[in-house]
């Protein structure tokens, strides 16, 4: 049972989390992965590589921008930064996600007692 609880994210979830992380501070890919894993208490099991297609989508949509630089560990890294459009997009996504989450919880709540 415990094994099967690891489920795929819904489309757009990864992008949303990336944008949220970048809102706090610009970061490169590896740091983003680290950040998301720590924040989620390792509950989300995401293939690290799947970050990159998401980042490319965000780049293409001009929601983030990227720049090559040198990291604190003195490594050549590509740092991503959220844009103004990215911020707006994130607000919208979060509010629509919250509505969806609320809806799902409402549906699931009364059923919980019966299931146990």
């Amino acid at each position: 049972m415990t094994k099967s609880t690891a489920r795929d994210l819904f489309p757009g979830a990864l992008e949303m989390m990336i944008l949220e992380s970048l809102r706090r501070q610009p970061a490169h890919g590896y740091a983003l992965v680290q950040h998301i894993q720590q924040r989620s208490n390792n509950l989300l099991q995401v293939e690290e590589g799947s970050l990159y297609p998401a980042l490319q989508r965000l780049l293409k949509a001009n929601l983030v921008k990227a720049r090559w630089g040198v990291s604190s560990t003195n490594r050549r890294v590509r740092t991503y930064q959220i844009t103004a459009a990215g911020l707006r997009h994130l607000e919208q996504e979060i509010s629509s996600f919250e509505r969806m989450f609320e809806g799902i919880s409402l549906v699931l709540t009364p059923g919980r007692s019966e299931a146990t």
């Binding site: 490169h28 890919g29 590896y30 992965v33 293939e47 690290e48 590589g49 799947s50 990159y52 297609p53 980042l55 490319q56 989508r57 780049l59 293409k60 990227a66 090559w68 560990t73 490594r75 050549r76 890294v77 590509r78």
Partner: protein, 897 residues
Amino acid sequence: MNWLLDIFRRRRIYGDLAEEMRIHLEERTEQFANEGMSRKEAEQAARRAFGNSTLLEERSREVWRMPFVESFGTDLKLVFRRLGKSPGFAATVILTLAIGIGANTAVFSVTNSVLFRPLPYPDAEQLVAIRLIAPGAAGLADFSSGLRLSSSMYFTFAEQKRTFQSFGVWNTGTASVTGVDQPHEVHTAWISDGVLQALSVPPVLGRWLLPADQDPHGAKPVMLSYGYWQRRFGGDRSVIGRSIAIDGQSRQIVGVMPKGFELVNAEFDVITPFAFDRNKQQLAGFGLQGIARLKPGIPIAQANEDVKRMLPIWEDSWPSGVKGFNPHFYEKNWKIAPAIRPLKQEVIGSVGNVLWVVMATIGVVMLIACTNVANLLLVRADGRQQELAVRAALGASRGRIAWELLLESVALGLIGGVLGIGIAYEGLRLLAAIGPADLPRLGEISLDGRSLWFTLALSLLSGLLFGSIPVLKYVGARMPTALRGAGRTVSVSRERQRSRDLLVVAQVAMALVLLVSAMLMIRTFQALRHVEPGFSQPEHLQTMRISIPPSLVPDPQMVTRMQNNIVDKLAAIPGVTSVGFADAMPMEGIESNWNGIQIEGKKSDETAPMRLFRYVSPGFFHTSGTRMIAGRELTWTEIYGRRPVAIISENLARESWGSASAALHKRLQDLPDTPWFEVVGVVEDVHVNGVQEKAPAIVYWPSMVEGIYGPHTFGATRGATFVVRSDRAGTEAFLSEIQQGVWSVNPSLPLASVRTMQEIYSQSLARTSFTLVMLGIAGSMALVLGIIGIYGVISYAVSQRTREIGIRLALGEQRGRLRWMFVRSALVLTGCGLAIGLAAAAGLVGLMKSLLYGVSPMDPVTYLSVLMVLAASAVLASYLPARRAAAVNPVEALRAE
């Protein structure tokens, strides 16, 4: 334009991406190493955590692409690269498809141009041919597909019409033109007012013929066809107002019709107006064709009602010319009734049947070609099976693999289609050159937009059709089996061979249907060749038309003298055995007169059966090789003496008096109050409308005759076809001697339609021989493709079973038995195909019944011979690979492991 920029930026983007991902892995590896893993373990753990880097990189790159277009482009590139690697396969498939699609496109273009496209007149769907039927007029159906209109009907219909916008009558004929360089014969179209108005095609120069031009006492105008204007007047625009003499009548040129304009289905050089004299009209004289433009929205049924309403008016309006004639005779006894039909149907005639059959045949050839290509693809996919299985195991989806296979076959189809258009274009040029002259609308045939759409659709469809067979076979297969099967120790499974077997069965079945229909056409042709046409050795019969217009020789007696002189002059030419003439030769397509003929002593009622009339000279039958059954030919003395004598056809003699000899010295009569004619000879039946038509009953009158068409009328046949029997017929020198001979009698007599009887005869068979050639080509293509199919399947089976054969041989199998095993498997397939084909053929050949003559659609000879040919071909096609199988060296076959 963002996407354009993207393409330029892309290289850098991809570079950044790869770099970034590499750094990520490095960082992760370092992290794990710091946590105490060995370098190697750390690398592996990092990769596991990262996921499938190739796939993820591909997904990331895809973000920057127009996914559909680009992956399509890449796939296409792959397809071409793969095809380039097997040029033999690609060339075979493309050539097969190009020929198949080309043939189909060509035939479709013909069908489209002839059957589907509207006639080249404005609002052509409103145009109708006014035809009448007269089921009560006995004998009429023998030589005419209906009753034509009379000139009195023209007056009634034109004045009383309610459903027609315009109505007119027309006819065609020939006339001689003098006054423009040499005297020559032209094709004339005679029209009444209303014909040009109905067709609504304006002249390219000058004006139409107008109602005023119909005045029998008024000016005499003429219009020219575009072709004649170009040929004779070099396209000179000042011809308007000039005069030419047509049959000795001076006529002023008032207009020129545009290029390509045809009067219904008639080509013509000049258009002249009828000038009916209203005061001299009678009911009878049914020789005109009617044409009308319906008022918008009027259905044909309503137009028929309109004509039905006008027929009694017509009967009451005009005299019959015969005393005591009941004016409602035509309605009561002949049961005359309208049978209007669309003008298009009139133009196309019965050629629709031929085209549909040819189209279906060529379509089946295409299907056979597709099965052959499918077979090749199956073999090819077999070779790729391991690759496909590996790819599936590595995560390629079934849809992806199916898409690639289909893309390859559709690409093949489209390349074949492009080449096919070239082939169709050439084919149509060839067709225009060799096609039957009686194919209507031949000049209009072209590759148009619709044909190109057809080609595209056909290419795509055939690509999908033959492409889907390997797709169904291999994409649906369970991959683990496929992977294992690709190992070397397994012989070919039955399952793999089965779809190829099915294709061969289908091929044999379709080839059988085609061969049966081709064979039926051959049998039809044979049957037609065995019909005695009513003349002999047509290749030695030189024919030509000579008309003597009244303006040149007014007196009929003098006309006959002149014709007699021509006969004598031509008979004196070295190598000529005999000479004669008639108003028309059989199968020449010249309209003949006919009327009801009374037999003396039989009860005289008003419905005497219709008989065809011909007017002949002495010696005509001897010259053309028509056998005299009884009695003798006419003599010049009888002709000059205007003696009431006639010759009749054998079937008329039998019908009227029981036998040919009994008919001699009996008498017959055309109209009441005209003289009785004595039968002096009976000749064999002549198939005047072509050998496939029944020979009609014919009365042969003397070339100069008195008393037909009423008492005291008398006339000579002015337009005559002369026939000369000679071994030299058709040679250049002979023709110029004939020309000299005729001109020595009168230098202003034009010779027209100079050809041998063989040409006339062949032309009458043109449609049948055209169908025969088309079906013959289709049938042989089917046979060859079928043989290739059987050969291919058996030899592939042999190559796949080499190991098994080796084992069998090593265990002591006889080589003869081994050969028989493969031949037998081919025969089993062929047998299944033949059984299915027989059932299909029996159902389908009924459709071509109207094209057959003298042979039943179930003709046993046809079926037996086709079965034998196919079975023999199957044995041959399988024997060659079977021999190869038996020649296998067991040691080598097993060592190849």
